[in-house]
Symmetry: C3
């Protein structure tokens, strides 16, 4: 089934084959970008950002420009007709004439899903509240594929705020669909993965899950360490925060027992959960991850607009 | 007379022949856009929006991109040198170097007119306060031409807030210049077309005008129904508002006695003055109208920059 | 030494030969822009404006578009990850993937310098606080070269707020490096050039400096009159302001004794320090200066990205 004309709202709207298609095309473009430098000539990407997110917006815009296309849009809602009482449905029915493909970021969960029901051009969810952010998950996947060769039989540690972290939930669900995955979920007790999500995954997929509050004891067995920010205000009391915060900071010291080929990722921006001394460690690939995110978005744009149709 | 290098501030700056030129070119582009996809290559459109208007801005930007040109600009005044005390004249003398054609939106009436006196490149008024908005009028005209074949001998109903509605005033004045036009002006008594405007039209043009507060009784004779928003705060008292508001909402029910080929337009955004059940009625063409607005802007840009010169 | 891949943070990072290279290429492009209309095809300029500056941003964007490249970026910091606590170093390590060359404007002195230490693509300082603004200096230089033929043996008057004026400090330092320069520094006593800057220049360069509070007496000998804004709030008391302000306004009257070929420049925006009656005087070239600023930026972009390498 072709991806041409499809909307991408939830990473799990895509089959594993479709994800592979996007990731593989992303890596092909990455290895030879000039071959794709004009394939979107004459196409317009519309960026509808009802909530500011410079990084996501610029990554998409860079992707479209690097395919030879053009961009237009807005970067925060304050300049739109929302305040005049217009519905999302009406807005999208107008906006979809301005562009050949749309990315929508919205503070309200479900808004991109609703919008996609009215859009006559492909619409990509660029993040909706604490809900979905499919191109972050695709970014994570292309990075794993690039550095690990295959997404298979990996021991994946997700570390930090696993309760509120949208990125982590999406990644966890999507990785569960791959063969032989084992998860180590590392967080303070208050910030564990929601019970219903853990249950859903254990019921539907053949995975192993270990929950712990200690990163260091598991370090030697981890293939992929996925770090996320812990916001101080998520803790119930200051004492807990002070006690725990250092456990969730990776530094060179803690990496001494880690595998040589362990991969450290982070959706960025980081605050202090990865020490700067890790930046020069060959295992820290979070900046490469951000770069690969451009290429996976190029692939997605190329496939949804139909300028490339993988058979 | 060629439109090359001209400014467009007021729709009535254009002769009927010039309007026809723009509208006809817009329809030609609409029917074969790929033939025009590169005619503005190397040209830059500057969007100077001293007041936010995402819809108008993006429509212009899409138009320029679809002609193969580029865009730059700003979407609200807060980021400009206005606050440093610079005059519009000075600003424009700098800005007109950055682009080959400018669109200016400004909260102050007359600002685009003033700016055009200093601009060395064509300047289009993208809306100035409650004053003029010529490309909305051109959008209305291209839609009428497209669906009616000719702008001639039409019974046009303008419905809603006819006192403050800039769009309606422009359209009324411009349509009056065409042959055989009859107007039914439908509004609450408090929101009638300003007396001076009505008089000006009756004195200068050979038209018929009927004023009424009732949409339904006139429905069967209307060729074009142009709906606009009524803002609650325009009413003098709550009681009037409650009594009248439903009369100015079109729905399927009220359309039962309407002509088969009646055209329903709206400058958008709508709030509730057109019921959603009208969206699927073949007479409701307000979203097509927004789409045609891109093409008429493409035509205007092509003619003002001189990349196309109609003889 | 080639400029390819270099950062430009301080105008004095460039040798006089390099400045000449940029200025000469700027003038070549100015005299034949169409020959350069596609040289940056496929290249992206990223505009990172942590502080609004529409004029500088649009000048850079116009420059890149006129070279056939593309643009992306943001126009104020409110939409960035700064508020999430991300460091400039991290931000730049992500942003430098989105574009092939970056311009950064930042309210904090030194921020672009810091950023350049992490950027893998050329980074241009678009102004940092009251510190440096190298492309304004290059704009001044290309204008002098264009109208004077050579930057040599000139009597240059800098007039207005010489204490806080970033533009003036940069220009003063850079012009001091040229042969045979004499400066007349005209300001109220409270707003004189900082003592350390004057000393630094006198110690390092072979220049003459005269300080005065009177523009009129020096008028007949000036080759280049560089005006700047004086903000009322810079004065210690209202009385001084009222007494002095008119002395620092140029008008036709005061120009009667000026040389025929004197050049009047201003970094813009002006408020009232140059009377409007000077706009039509052939000596007033401040709007031409703004235009030439686009071409010197085109030259800089072409040289830093390496699409043109002057031998």
């Amino acid at each position: 089934m072709s991806l041409k004309g499809r909307h991408v709202i939830d990473p799990n709207d895509l089959t594993l084959e479709e994800i592979q298609e996007v990731v593989d095309l992303g890596l092909k473009i990455y290895s030879n970008p000039s071959a794709y430098a004009e394939i979107c000539k004459g196409k317009i990407l519309g960026t509808l950002f009802y909530e500011a997110s410079t990084r996501t917006r610029l990554s998409f815009e860079s992707a479209m420009l690097r395919l030879g296309g053009s961009i237009l849009g807005f970067s925060d809602a304050s300049t739109t007709s929302v305040k005049k009482g217009e519905t999302i449905a009406d807005t999208i029915r107008v906006m979809d004439d301005y562009a050949d493909i749309l990315v929508m970021r919205h503070p309200r969960e479900g808004a991109p899903k609703l919008a996609s029901q009215y859009a006559t051009v492909p619409l990509i969810n660029g993040g909706d509240g604490g809900h979905q952010h499919p191109t972050q998950t695709l970014t994570d996947l292309i990075t794993i594929k690039h550095y690990k060769g295959e997404i298979k039989n990996l021991k994946v540690a997700l570390c930090g705020d696993l309760l509120f972290g949208r990125t982590v939930h999406s990644l966890l669900k999507t990785l569960s669909r791959y063969e032989g995955m084992k998860f180590i979920l590392i967080s303070p007790p208050e910030l564990k993965v929601p019970y219903h999500l853990k249950n859903e995954i254990l019921e539907n997929y053949d995975v192993e899950i270990v929950e712990t509050n200690c990163l260091e004891t598991h370090m030697p067995e981890i293939d992929l360490l996925y770090m996320t920010r812990i916001q101080k205000e998520r803790f119930f009391n200051e004492e807990d925060y002070v006690k725990l915060k250092d456990s969730y900071i990776v530094n060179r010291d803690k990496l001494q027992n880690a595998k040589e080929d362990m991969l450290i990722l982070h959706p960025l921006p980081r605050v202090n959960e990865i020490n700067y001394d890790v930046d020069t460690d060959p295992r820290g690939k979070y900046f490469e991850q951000a770069r690969l995110g451009i290429y996976v978005r190029m692939a997605l744009i190329a496939l949804l607009t139909g300028v490339i149709e993988v058979c």
